[in-house]
Symmetry: C2
Subunit: 287 residues, 2 copies
């Protein structure tokens, strides 16, 4: 199974780079640089492996790499912008200098803008049915706008220290896009509205738990594996749930969310071992 | 006719603001601020008045305000990001403090990201036929990506002083989105591929001429009317065509482009006096 994940990840990496124009401008170089830095590719893997669970119904995940890449373009855009000096001011990401460190803040800003735009272009260009394209566009844009990722980042920046706000920030900033990745797959395989509601519930649960696991890593992770400096959250006044609720509470929450999530996916008969393995790795993380 | 333009502009302004969530966050406030600053609303006006030319064929421009607003969201996003300290570092825009001056660079960055996202969400949510939605998404995303607006801004930032590059930068940075606005209208009224190619040709011509007229304004405009400091281009090493080709040459170019554009639109029988008036105002500008 791990071999399969490695193989799909490799294909995602190749296809993402193929989508970038190569005219030799600094913008093109920044895009290539941002995409060549190795990431987990969690969101596209979730998307593709969810589809793969419906292989017997005639759905071949290989037909949907363009949308998988689009989702990772969006994630990469968000990392580039979040790292900028005016935001989290991070020098390293995934163990490499951040895009604005390697190039400059203006090019990093434009690289993020371009990746977001390219993601939406790739979705529009996808060969799937136009009705599904429009639905996926709705799912994804809603997940990253003012009520999703970008809104969550704004709340994160303005975090006032009220611990009640933390899980909502985690939901908006992190869980919404992860949920959108899974929901887009549910849309492709034609799930009923009722089932999609359950998928959304599970996605939000595991997405928040994923961010809680990230909060834990910021405190007790291995700096080499994590690929960035530890204790950044306390430095940045970021809403790290572990500072406010304690390790034991958060570990318990993660466990509960994981169990509930698996229960929902079991009921929906998402029997892809890759998908279920990824869900587990989201919350029991070393990086 | 001017009354009609004022009335439509008012409606664009109202509808753009209605699309913004109002939860009272600083991001929401920045979005409202950015959209309340009065602009010409040129791109949505071109889009709507082009559709209005086909009123007798059953196309009512009032059915397409959501897409009109989406186009202006994109333009506004580009202004917010272009004004940022790491880019052009402008303190004033349309006579008001820029978003990062009024709020801060992080919120301005996120406001731009959110407007781009919201634009595509609005297009996806539009009540028109899904096939047309997908085509419009393709037109618009291609016009603002690495081969369009964002790529043009990157070339602008890295402008090396080669005057041969200037018109390509103008095309990418300015003319592509203007063309996309008009082409989206052509898509809605169901123009043939051949006619759309002519529309594209005219859009690029008048879009570049519009930017040349902007270059002129930067040198001989009225600061109060323009709403920003003059001679910014020379300060920023921006590719201002007038510096490199001289006033007389550029004025002649503008005139030629305008004539050619009008010829094309006449052949296509775009008989909307509002549309033709806007085209004229694009090149004979006071602001």
């Amino acid at each position: 199974m791990k071999q399969k994940i490695i193989a799909i990840t490799k294909e995602i990496n190749i296809k993402m780079l193929k989508g970038i124009s190569r005219k030799g401008s600094s913008l093109d170089m920044a895009l290539v640089y941002a995409l060549e830095v190795q990431g987990k590719r969690l969101r596209p893997l979730l998307f593709l492996s969810f589809i793969d669970a419906f292989n017997e119904n005639g759905f071949d995940y290989k037909d949907y790499f363009d949308i998988a890449c689009a989702i990772e373009y969006i994630h990469t855009y968000s990392l580039i912008h979040d790292d900028l000096p005016s935001m989290d001011n991070d020098d390293y990401r995934r163990g490499q200098p951040t895009v604005h460190k390697k190039f400059d803040p203006a090019i990093a800003l434009l690289a993020g803008d371009t990746l977001l735009t390219l993601a939406l272009e790739k979705i529009a260009d996808s060969k799937i049915d136009n009705n599904k394209i429009v639905e996926i566009m709705k799912i994804i844009t809603k997940s990253i706008g003012s009520l999703g990722m970008a809104g969550g980042q704004a709340l994160d920046l303005g975090f006032s220290g009220k611990k009640e706000e933390i899980f909502n920030i985690h939901k908006m900033k992190t869980a919404e896009l992860i949920t959108a990745a899974i929901l887009s797959a549910a849309e492709i395989i034609g799930m009923s509205k009722e089932k999609k509601d359950k998928v959304r519930e599970a996605g939000i649960l595991i997405g928040i738990a994923f961010q809680m696991a990230d909060d834990l890593l910021d405190i007790e992770g291995d700096e080499k594996l994590v690929g960035k400096k530890l204790n950044k959250d306390i430095e940045n006044d970021s809403p790290n749930s572990v500072y406010f609720y304690g390790k034991d509470f958060i570990k318990k929450e993660i466990e509960n969310s994981y169990k509930k999530t698996i229960e929902i996916f079991n009921k929906l008969e998402i029997n892809s071992d890759v998908f279920l393995y990824l869900i587990k790795k989201m919350v029991y993380r070393s990086k």
